[in-house]
């Protein structure tokens, strides 16, 4: 099956502005969009730039806008898109080249929420105990692969670069609700600030787009509730 692929290209080293490039690619219905992009890169135009590594949806490298939606290129198959495929870089982050964007603003938000377990009590010789129910509380949010699909699908983030964004909130949730962690008050204080959890207007774009199926909006609601409770 031949598909027609349009890619928004931009190399600041030589282009004055972004432009659309068109390619015809022979495909199999079960090809990933990543395979299609590789075909272009390896056979038609080696200057195309995109990040990727694992090719099966676990490393979070290849988030991009595919037919208008934020997806991982290695997790969407041609058969689910039809004969026309449009690919653009993620919105809301500066473009470095073609489909490669600057991830630093995204990771700096992640670092702001103290995304690490804090517990300075002397640990037992063996494991700290945690019941299966306590573990289940954080199961969903530990799945995050930091792909940035959610944050760059969020209209609040587009409008306000200060907003922590869904991914950082997911990271905060993962630790705040971990029965072994002791830094919830500090994290909640960070989230209570103006650029934190209450900026979320429950648009649900993030939840719809997350390739890991994380119920992000629900996690953010948990956080809002915890902030309110911590104030009383």
């Amino acid at each position: 099956m031949k598909v027609h692929v349009r890619i928004k290209r931009f190399n600041p080293e030589k282009d004055r502005r972004p432009y659309w490039a068109d390619y015809e690619v022979p495909t199999d219905p079960f090809d990933r969009v990543l395979d299609v992009l590789h075909y272009i890169k390896w056979n038609l135009d080696g200057t195309l730039a995109l990040r990727r590594s694992c090719a099966h949806g676990i490393c979070g490298s290849d988030a991009m806008l595919i037919n208008g939606r934020n997806r991982l290129a290695c997790k969407v198959l041609v058969k689910d898109l039809g004969p026309r495929i449009t690919v653009e870089p993620l919105r809301g982050l500066p473009v470095i080249k073609d489909l490669v964007v600057d991830m630093e603003p995204f990771f700096s938000k992640y670092r702001q929420v103290m995304p690490w377990l804090v517990n300075d009590e002397p640990p037992p010789v063996r494991e700290r105990l945690q019941s299966p129910e306590e573990r289940a509380r954080i199961d969903d949010t530990t799945k995050c692969i930091l792909c940035a699909v959610c944050t760059t699908a969020c209209p609040i983030f587009w409008g306000n670069g200060e907003f922590l964004g869904p991914a950082a909130l997911v990271a905060a949730h993962r630790f705040i609700f971990d029965s072994r962690d002791r830094a919830a008050p500090e994290r909640l204080a960070i989230l209570a600030e103006r650029s934190g959890a209450f900026k979320c207007r429950t648009v649900f774009n993030c939840t719809d787009a997350c390739p890991q199926g994380i119920e992000i909006t629900k996690a953010i609601q948990d956080l809002k509730r915890a902030i309110v409770l911590s104030r009383t």
């Binding site: 949806g57 063996r126 494991e127 105990l129 019941s131 799945k143 930091l146 971990d178 962690d181």
Partner: protein, 574 residues
């Protein structure tokens, strides 16, 4: 040319690199940098699914001696037993440390770390399967990678992301630093440093069907080899039995640990014939060969080159809760629901047992006398300690990267207390610059993608699960031809900014090197042991070959004895 000064540079930010960095990062007086060609959380450690082995005994009786025995036997007695003892003993404290760092393991009803069965792991020295693999669903590697990265952030470890290390600086045999290429700007940087550790992962991309990421191209091993360090036991490359047909994406052994069964076209559970005791949980080399034998004898599904992995008798809850990730892979990439239909699988190139030779402190050695290269370390899949011998057991790589990654970190800290800074020569980046310039300026019309594809296809055919002399020789000739063509490639992209065209060309050079080391070592070893199966020499030959291969880039071989402490070599039956 920017020059950076550090006490230690760690190349690679997977499990091995990050654990070493964390260990060093806690020493407040040392300046440590981690250089990684990927953002750390993109490293392939994150792909590890099934589990990490340690004899915690949380679910049933277990002992580190049993774990050690399984490791030695699994490796077909080519394992260095002093190293295997360290692996099995320190696995236990390492798991507890990870838990204390926040790793969200699955739990038993009484709140302890949950454990499950895995191939080749047994109780009472081979009596039957044991629950030893600690896990977080089938996302164990993801959790390890995240947890270590998070703790590195907490400890202010310095990261240089998307910096491709392309050369190692040695001055009179002593480490002086590395040269790295910043992808964003195209600039070469010199990292002047008293110690360097390679933790660059594996090289599955030398094979066509692989579970490995596109970025696993053997860079660290190739760089060391070019600088005169030998590579150890390169002939031992593991094929995992269950990769998704044609794609190579892994269906973790945890699937069989939870009860899934391999079947041929007749619906027969064929492992009953090959491994009556462990069945579908026999070690990987044995199952992979059984599968190819079934296929060759016409019992592949529809007579084709794949078999079935059958989950349909398992409760849906097991799939949803214990194997959610691989269930979704089957759905996404094949449109198959494993609860209803069997999944088409074939062996997939998975893991390099060999690599940069080190001692049990991660110190790289340069010869059969174990002479260390001062300041040079390696750990993780790119290194060979050797704890995996001729065949690695499932869950033992995650143990290896952590136990020996951390030991390397500790020894570096010790080394740095005394080591002097070695001045670097006048133009430390000249070799790297020349390499890249040559790739940029060559104009013979050959394409990187085509050469890489041919390499991987032929390696699969002639240097895969079954090998023989004529095929291996054919492969060597093929590599020579491909090298010739490699010298005549033409790149499309000649710019500086994020030039991945150039990057892939440079990586192809590494693939050619590690492939050549693999084939030469395979041709040289005229016996069959573990994952190395020579049809023309089908027996293990301890009299001649109970020794490690060291291969230098000039083609010279040397041999190191195997360290045997507790378990004398026996015939390997399961």
């Amino acid at each position: 040319m920017p020059v950076h000064q550090y006490d230690a540079v760690i190349v690679g930010a997977g499990g091995a690199g990050l654990f070493a960095a964390l260990e060093l990062g806690r020493q407040r007086d040392l300046r440590v940098a981690v250089l990684s060609k990927l953002y750390p959380t993109r490293s392939h450690t994150g792909a590890a699914q099934g589990g990490i082995g340690a004899a915690l005994g949380n679910e049933e009786e277990d002992h580190w001696e049993w774990h050690m025995f399984d490791t030695v036997k699994g490796g077909d007695y080519l394992v260095d037993q002093d190293a295997a003892e360290i692996l099995a003993r320190e696995a236990i404290e390492t798991i507890y440390d990870l838990e204390h760092y926040g790793l969200p393991f699955d739990r038993t009803p009484d709140g302890r770390i949950a454990q499950r069965r895995f191939g080749g792991h047994t109780h009472h020295f081979g009596q039957g399967p044991v629950r030893r693999a600690c896990h977080a669903a089938d996302r164990t590697g993801h959790m390890i990678l995240q947890t270590l990265y998070q703790q590195c952030l907490r400890n202010d470890v310095h990261f240089f992301n998307e910096f491709q290390v392309v050369d190692l600086l040695l001055e009179d045999g002593v480490v002086a630093g590395v040269v790295a290429w910043e992808l964003l700007t195209g600039e070469l940087h010199v990292f002047h440093s008293r110690a360097v550790m390679f933790a660059t992962g594996g090289w599955g991309k030398i094979f066509k069907v692989t579970s490995n990421a596109h970025t696993l191209t053997g860079d660290g091993a190739a760089i060391c080899w070019r600088r005169g360090i030998p590579l150890e036991d390169m002939e031992f490359y593991q094929f995992h039995p269950t990769g998704i047909y044609r794609l190579g994406i892994l269906m973790s052994e945890a699937a069989r640990g939870e009860g899934a069964i391999l079947r041929n076209r007749n619906g027969e559970r064929f492992m009953e014939r090959y491994s009556p005791t462990l069945l579908d949980l026999a070690p990987r080399d044995i199952i992979a060969r059984a599968m190819i034998t079934e296929i060759r004898e016409g019992r592949g599904i529809d007579g084709k080159d794949y078999l079935h992995l059958d989950f349909t008798h398992l409760p849906r809850q097991v799939l949803d809760e214990k194997l959610p990730e691989i269930t979704s892979f089957a759905r996404t990439y094949l449109g198959v629901d494993p609860a209803r239909e069997p999944v088409p699988v074939q062996p997939t190139a998975h893991y390099a047992m060999g690599g940069i030779p080190t001692d049990v402190w991660g110190r790289v050695i340069r010869d059969e006398q174990n002479t260390p290269v001062p300041g040079l370390y390696a750990a993780g899949e790119c290194a060979c300690v050797s704890v995996h011998g001729a065949n690695r057991l499932g869950t033992n790589s995650l143990v290896d990267i952590l136990v020996f990654g951390r030991r390397a970190g500790r020894d570096m800290a010790r080394y740095l207390k005394e080591a002097e800074r070695v001045p670097v020569s006048h133009n430390p980046d000249s070799d790297a610059r020349e390499q890249l310039e040559r790739l940029l300026s060559s104009a013979g019309g050959e394409k990187v993608g085509a050469i890489r594809d041919e390499l991987a296809t032929c390696m699969m055919e002639w240097c895969g699960i079954f090998r023989n002399g004529p095929d291996l020789q054919r492969m060597l000739d093929k590599i020579a031809e491909l090298r010739d063509r490699y010298a005549r490639i033409t790149l499309d992209d000649r710019g500086r900014r994020f030039n991945q065209d150039l990057l892939e060309a440079w990586e192809l050079g590494c693939l050619l090197d590690v492939a050549e080391a693999t084939v030469r070592s395979a041709l040289n070893r005229t016996e069959s042991r573990g994952a190395h199966m020579r049809e023309d020499y089908p027996k293990r030959d301890d009299a001649q070959w109970l020794k490690h291969t060291l291969l230098y880039r000039d083609g010279r071989f040397a041999y190191k004895p195997v360290t045997i402490t507790r378990f004398l070599p026996q015939e390997r039956k399961y």
